[in-house]
Amino acid sequence: MTQYLIRRLLIAIPSLLGISVILFTVLALAPGDPFEELATNPAIPPEVRQQLRASLGMDDPIHIRYFSWLAAMLRGEWGYSFVSRIPVDDLILQRLPTTIAVIGASQVLALCIALPVGVYSATRPYSIFDQIANTLAFIGFSLPTFFTGLLFILFFSIYLDWLPFVYNANINATGWKWWWEQIRQSIMPVAVLGLFQGAAWTRYVRSAVLDVIRLDHVTTARAKGLPESRITMRHVVRNAMIPVVTLVALQMPAVFGGAIVTEQIFRVPGIGSLLISAILANDTPVIMAVTFVLSALVIFFNLVADILYGWLDPRISYR
């Protein structure tokens, strides 16, 4: 097992490097300029911008810039954002809690919807519940998130005026008041994302359970005189969880990447909106750092998914 792990990690290193090279060249070639506003302000003499770009080494050839970035990266310095001169790791760490809180909560909500509904509707195929759940699931993941987001704001914030729609990262209340405010302002983004994700996963769980429910060993279990609920939980769901768990594990990097559109609409200062503003301003260090972490997570969770798969299904052996 550990031998397998080491081998997988060794493979991960070149792929991470490969990704960073390709990413760096894409960014270097892409247009866009972190000093956009500098250009429009007539009062600023042009050589200031020249000087600034030179000081940040933005005019050197690509490979030199890449190796200097890589060297800094290996030393643990992730560099400074061109736009705000703030160390990139501070930027990311600062936005991490919000992203994990909001996007993480939405994934948990999605699971809390998908698992019970998926299993229940699969154990009663073509019942009324199943058809309603199935149709709602379809509707759920066919609605684009930014459309539902807009409708939520229109309905809950403007017409009913229940919920604030501007996300405030640091609320200055304490104790439960803080929690209440936090919940009130996160309900909508979490709901929008959670319902969308939940709908997609419900369908997946249902089909996974349906595949297992017809297998012979389930009839064997029934022949053993086990109660229906026990059969469903221990025998059906336990087997159906194998593909579902791997799917959820593969989805984890998206939690870090944040939902760019939802964060834009609800102004959640998460990693997603940081990435967007950095991309539009071609702020290379920030983009490289965020995407580097993202790709590391993608590879890491691929490994986690495989290990989970092996742990859950004894038939898989690790050579």
Binding site: K224, H235, R315
Partner: protein
């Protein structure tokens, strides 16, 4: 019959709803099993033998299946109206079941010990440790080598034959009075088949468990059965002790079955082509009136096509459903 029989199936009808209408898979079946007896139910695939067996423990999906009529009396109590909870108390506790496909009948993610212990703990409330010990006992009982260690192995670490032994161990784990075996050896190759059949007979001797064996292989019948029931197109056509059935089969279908067994002893000398029964099984959607074997029966008369032959007892324990059974020579 003096003491009530262990199991008495009377007039059982089980129909399945499909897009094209109701399939009358089992259409009035009477089968009885006595304690400690091995009864074989034989017939071509699709004659309703497996449905009958599974209906005893209500292992068929309802819907689309439905018990239309008849009763299944087990030790004096009719199982048909029983609730789920009552049925569960009987499954494996009193009636064990062995499935046809050992490769897929065990849950791949639990060890064989856990799967056996699960039934034992359910029915006899043993602690985890005691149940696992019982499982190890059962595995050694069915001749699985160093059972104490292998009880912690997973199903995919066993061969097909071994897995069927595990299934047998599981079925016997709560010392049931009757074991229903639905074609237990069909999926196995011949050498393993014999071992499994011997094992089941050994279990019968040791534990006094009655066996209801479902098969389509006349060889298996000859090898293990004490009494035989022959089914055709959802009905019982002949019932007799094994000796008289092979010696003096009364129903033309049974005669056809017996004649179509390749005879090794005669093969060297007579070079006869194997006999086959012409025609195919009638559709169970709208079965023809009268005797269902009429279309394929050499002796069929007009009456056979109109009136349904009742199951008549020609000799003690030997019943036949054919108007002209007496006159048909062996």
């Amino acid at each position: 019959m003096s003491a009530p029989r262990l199991l008495e199936i009377a007039g059982l009808k089980v129909h399945f709803k499909t897009d094209d209408g109701w399939v009358r898979a089992v259409d009035g079946v009477d089968i009885g099993v006595d304690a400690g007896e091995t009864l074989c139910v034989v017939g071509e695939s699709g004659c309703g033998k497996t449905v009958t067996a599974k209906t005893i423990l209500k292992l068929i999906d309802m819907p689309p299946g439905r018990i239309v009529a008849g009763s299944i009396t087990w030790q004096g109590r009719d199982l048909v109206p029983m609730t789920g909870a009552q049925m569960r108390a009987i499954r494996t506790k009193q009636i064990g079941f062995i499935f046809q496909e050992p490769m897929t009948s065990l849950n791949p993610v639990y060890t064989v010990g856990e799967q056996i212990a699960e039934a034992v703990r359910m029915h006899e409330g043993l602690s985890r440790r005691a149940a696992m010990d019982r499982a190890a006992e059962m595995l050694s009982l069915v001749h699985i080598p160093n059972a104490a260690r292998r009880v912690h192995d997973y199903p995919h670490q066993f061969s097909g034959g071994m897995r069927q032994r595990v299934m047998i161990a599981m079925a016997l784990s709560c010392n049931p009075k009757l074991i229903i075996a639905d074609e237990p050896t069909t999926a196995l190759d011949v050498t393993i088949q014999a071992q499994i059949l011997d094992l089941m007979n050994e279990m019968k001797e040791k534990l006094g468990t009655a066996i209801l064996l479902i098969t389509h292989a006349m060889g298996v019948v000859a090898e293990t059965a004490q009494r035989v029931v022959v089914m055709y197109a959802g009905k019982v056509v002949e019932e007799a002790p094994v000796g008289p059935l092979f010696a003096t089969p009364r129903h033309p279908y049974t005669q056809g079955l017996i004649r179509s067994i390749p005879r090794l002893d005669l093969a060297a000398t007579e070079h006869k082509r194997l006999e086959a029964i012409p025609g195919t099984v009638p559709s169970l959607l709208d079965p023809p009136p009268g005797c269902r074997f009429a279309a394929r029966c050499r002796f069929a008369q007009a009456e056979c096509r109109s009136a349904e032959p009742p199951l008549r007892e020609l000799a003690t324990g030997h019943k036949v459903a054919c108007h002209f059974a007496e006159s048909i020579a062996a």
